[in-house]
């Protein structure tokens, strides 16, 4: 049996996509003019790194936390770990060159500012996030225990 050709789909959408590719090609030729391989690697690499590395990693970490807490019978505590961890990780993801100190020398000599504070401030923000979350959980657990009728015990 000979496979039938791929159907066309909506002609209007096809036209829209062709126009989009034309503009992307016009800009893309200029984008790739200097170091086509490097830029292409960055463009495709960004998508692959996100979809096949970053996302699976944090999804897996999330699953480990929720399953782990679930095994301990505390699945409802997941958000108290997820929120501070994700917010702290988000700040690290955005500001890792400054936090990690990889641009220290250039930063200091260009801006005249000290590059030392970023790691400390990120750690402090993370501590406040985790500490605040733990405090909130403790308060809620305490309230729930108080409210629980004695018959349950």
């Amino acid at each position: 049996m000979r496979p039938r050709p791929l159907p066309l789909g909506s002609p209007l959408q096809l036209l829209l996509l062709v126009c989009s590719f034309a503009l992307a090609a016009y800009a893309g030729v200029r984008l790739l003019a200097d170091d086509w391989l490097g830029v292409a690697l960055w463009l495709v690499g960004a998508a692959l790194l996100h979809d096949l590395v970053l996302l699976p990693l944090y999804a897996l970490a999330d699953r480990v936390v929720s399953r782990g807490l679930g095994a301990a019978g505390r699945r409802e505590w997941t958000m108290y770990v997820r929120v501070p961890a994700a917010l702290s990780g988000l700040l690290l993801l955005v500001w890792f060159p400054l936090i990690g100190g990889t641009v220290d020398r250039r930063y200091r000599s260009a801006t005249g500012l000290s590059a030392d504070g970023f790691l400390v401030r990120w750690l402090l923000i993370s501590a406040v996030l985790f500490g605040g979350s733990a405090l909130l959980l403790a308060v809620r657990v305490r309230r729930a225990t108080k409210r629980r009728p004695p018959a349950v015990h």
Partner: protein, 443 residues
């Protein structure tokens, strides 16, 4: 569209999909989060539709602010072709214009990162969906998504790295970010046109409530209607609404730890992680943010001393005057309160600049009426903006100065001693520091 494209393999796909085989990411059953669904994706998508449109427009505005059409030295993307169709003469009013547009561009971009990540997370099952293409249009749409996701992440990554001076990207920031923006925007417009109507319908129709009702209903029939909803979801640890608040909290956290670098004053302290947040360099009259220090720019103090330094001003018919700093200080001096606003998004509050009006310097070399364009050269030996062109409207503005002092004292070396340009609403790098030569009318 409804026809069967690959008769022999499709039954296998169908079987896997119907069985919700949890081992393969191509099967909907692999994806367990109860949060995914059209409503959730649509809300995030509509936020990005507005946000990325603002980012694109403020980005185009920033390119125009450099006056790239005026002189090759102002233009980092000379091969732009029709992509520069919209360029216009950059105004000097309001004097905080670039501070606003570029602060918005960078701060909004950073604030949108959690929304972008959440949006990509919410649609990741579609990346693995089979069959790879249902029609030619669908195949092209999926290729276009590579430009959308790759281009979008490329734009956010180059922007975030550039403001941290981490120049690891393959080339100069300006052409990469400018042409990359057009590639991304081409895919973005197509994606928005294809998806926005359904997203608006989903949000208007309060799909969330229906989805939640459907969560309890028959899963197979529902999965046909919304292929983002997991057919075998885990028990929820947070509601869809709660997850949106979570994304919003991420955006808020990034916003409050960044925005202060574009507001300045006491609020700079609140920008805990932004490159030009937290503190100002030193104190006193020169204690405000520096783009590039004298040491970084390679300025030799032997060239800036009172004996050595002369400003060379050239004008009509090659008429030239050479002025020492003392001679400049004897010319009529004027003041202007203006900010420094960088392409990196940070800016300073208004500083009190004191110096000679550029249009007065033009008069010295034969331009008595309306002053012409000007070409400014720095002592700086290398760096993309050691030379800059100013348009006639910028030269003519009474607040445009060759500044000699700031906040009541002589300029510090890092702020451009012996003399620097300051022009209202111009991007920071066009306010040339360590000025050596100004040529009027010769662009």
């Amino acid at each position: 569209m409804g026809r069967v494209p690959f008769p022999r393999v499709l039954p296998a796909y169908r079987r896997i999909m119907r069985d919700d085989d949890p081992r393969l990411p191509s099967s909907p059953g692999f994806w367990r989060s109860p949060l995914r669904g059209t409503w959730f994706t649509s809300v995030l998508g509509l936020v990005l539709l507005v946000g990325i449109t603002v980012l694109f427009l403020t980005g185009l505005v920033s390119y125009a602010a450099y006056n790239p059409g005026l002189s090759p030295v102002n233009d980092q993307t000379p091969d732009k072709g029709v992509l520069g169709f919209y360029l216009f003469a950059w105004p000097t009013n309001p004097y905080w214009l670039y501070r606003l547009t570029q602060g918005l561009h960078v701060t909004l971009g950073i604030t949108l990162i959690p929304v972008l990540l959440a949006k990509l997370w919410s649609v990741v099952p579609k990346l693995f969906a089979l069959p790879p293409a249902r029609s030619l249009t669908h195949a092209l749409e999926r290729i276009s998504l590579l430009l959308l996701v790759g281009g979008g992440l490329f734009e956010f990554a180059t922007g975030v790295l550039n403001v941290q001076l981490d120049y690891v990207f393959p080339g100069s920031f300006y052409p990469l970010h400018f042409y990359g923006a057009w590639v991304f925007f081409a895919a973005f417009v197509a994606h928005a046109a294809l998806k926005a109507p359904a997203a608006v319908r989903a949000v208007r129709g309060r799909r969330e409530e229906r989805e939640e009702r459907e969560d309890r209903a028959d899963r197979d029939s529902r999965a046909d209607r919304d292929d983002l909803v997991s057919p075998r979801p885990d028990a929820a640890t947070v509601s869809r609404r709660g997850a949106l608040w979570f994304v919003g909290a991420g955006s808020l956290l990034l916003f409050v730890t960044t925005a202060g670098q574009s507001i300045g004053g006491a609020l700079r302290r609140t920008a805990l992680l932004a490159p030009h947040g937290w503190a100002d360099p030193g104190g006193g009259p020169g204690g405000f943010q520096i783009n590039k220090t004298a040491a970084y720019a390679g300025i030799d103090t032997a060239e800036t001393g009172a004996e050595a330094w002369r400003l060379v001003v050239t004008g009509r018919d090659g008429r030239t005057v050479r002025l020492s700093r003392a001679q400049l200080l004897r010319l009529p001096l004027h003041s202007a309160a203006l900010p420094i606003a960088c392409v990196e998004g940070w800016s300073t509050a208004d500083q009190w600049w004191h110096g000679v009006r550029l249009r007065d310097l033009a008069v010295l070399v034969g331009y008595d009426g309306d002053p012409p364009d000007a070409f400014v050269e720095s002592l700086q030996r290398h760096g993309a903006f050691r030379r800059a062109a100013l348009r006639a409207n910028q030269v003519a503005d009474p607040r445009s100065l060759l500044a000699l002092q700031v906040n009541g004292e002589d300029l510090s070396p890092d702020h451009g001693h012996p003399a620097r340009i300051i022009v209202p609403a111009a991007p920071g790098v066009l306010n040339t520091k360590w000025v050596a030569r100004i040529t009027f009318g010769a662009l």
